[in-house]
Symmetry: C2
Subunit: 211 residues, 2 copies
DNA sequence: TACATTCTTGCACTGCCTGCAAAAAAATCG
DNA sequence: CGATTTTTTTGCAGGCAGTGCAAGAATGTA
């Protein structure tokens, strides 16, 4: 794990350091002065790079604040999910997969905390993050399709892909719900706990008929 | 219906005309030259207003392309939904409410068609549209909460609001699914038909357990 | 007609973002 | 080490987005 960063040459190490410096400068400045009052120039200056270099690393101020896009966990939980060992249904398993995955983080703990605070403070940032999740959605949808191949082998390809996508998008709806609840209540549960909660509520919203 | 535009004075009529002219100029230019190759200057010029005036009407090029935000239908279907007459569950009813509402349109048919073509062509625009839907989501969530007050009178306020939000966000997940299917297949069904389809698939994704 | 209100426009200004080419830094090789 | 190649950083020039302000035009009102 800690060998990832290991000597791939000075160049690579410097690139990572610069990226981190920019992210950190951006996040701290926004915490200090507010999103609207921070310019690329300021961020670059604090990170000790030229404004032009900023754009060699990030496409925008927001991109620097959001950091890297999420990726599938690499600990084998994906394999267990595909094999049907995670959750009694694909949707439920997906919920477990995501809420567990949202716990790990390959970065500085303080940066991570501040980033979350910003997502809480600026809903626009959360929206952007969800937007940036499109690729992740595609990835997840194909994993879900694999799971469905296991759960329902009789389904034809098109139906399976469509169903996988529906499951994925519904799951993202649930994630948004978790987020919304989590962001409103000052410091109640962990986000990942809140996610488990929302996923648990899910079955109740389909069946509950008229009075 | 056609009386909406009726004499509210020259000023108001001109405002509406200008707004329409800008929208139309924007849409047509983007259809002709592609989203990236159209500037505010061009749009303003074709709409016969100054670039400065453009910003008196829209905050950005994208806003002009997307047009007005969606609103709740005014034909009484909301009341029927709240009273539990629409759908056998809140989620199902919400599906009917939305898919029906997406049919009406208070605008020029050609503009409407082109706008949809653009949403199809540029997924970023659809994402933006979903982002702009936040307020609409809030509105819907409170309507859903009313419906829940009817369906499950025993629920306390917090639980009801949370559940209403979950239902709403899941519904938006389904809408995204409908959109995705609709945008991929060249000219299959109506969007609103496609929505009914996706909502119908929904019950199947919760129960389907392991093989 | 005279007055008040609202809308349009030009102007100046800040900030975002990109392409390009020169300089700096790091990797590679003899 | 020194020479060469590759990659990164930086400055510069420039286009486009978006905003505040104040003057002037258009509309509403009496």
């Amino acid at each position: 794990m800690s060998l990832d960063i290991a000597q791939q040459g000075l160049r690579e190490r410097k690139r990572i350091a610069t990226r981190r410096a920019i992210e950190s400068a951006a996040i701290n400045l926004v915490v200090e002065k507010g999103l609207e009052n921070v310019t690329i120039d300021e961020i670059s200056h604090r990170a000790d790079v030229s404004p032009r270099t900023f754009f060699n690393y990030f496409a925008s101020k927001e991109a620097a604040l959001l950091g890297e896009s999420p990726e599938l966990p690499v600990d084998g939980s994906v394999a267990r999910f595909v094999d049907g060992e995670l959750g009694s249904s694909a949707l439920e398993g997906l919920g477990e997969l995501i809420s567990t995955a949202s716990e790990d983080s390959r970065e500085d703990a303080e940066t991570h905390t501040l980033r979350f605070a910003l997502l809480r403070q600026y809903p626009q940032l959360f929206t952007l993050r969800m937007t940036a999740m499109r690729d992740f959605e595609e990835e997840l949808a194909s994993v879900v399709a694999e799971r469905l191949r296991h759960d329902e082998p009789t389904l034809d390809d098109d139906a399976r892909r469509s169903k996988a996508k529906l499951i994925t998008l519904v799951a993202f709806g649930v994630i948004r719900h978790s987020w919304s609840c989590w962001a409103e209540n000052e410091s109640a549960m962990t986000l990942s706990e809140r996610m488990k909660e929302s996923f648990a509520q899910l079955p109740g919203i389909l069946s509950a008929g008229a009075a």
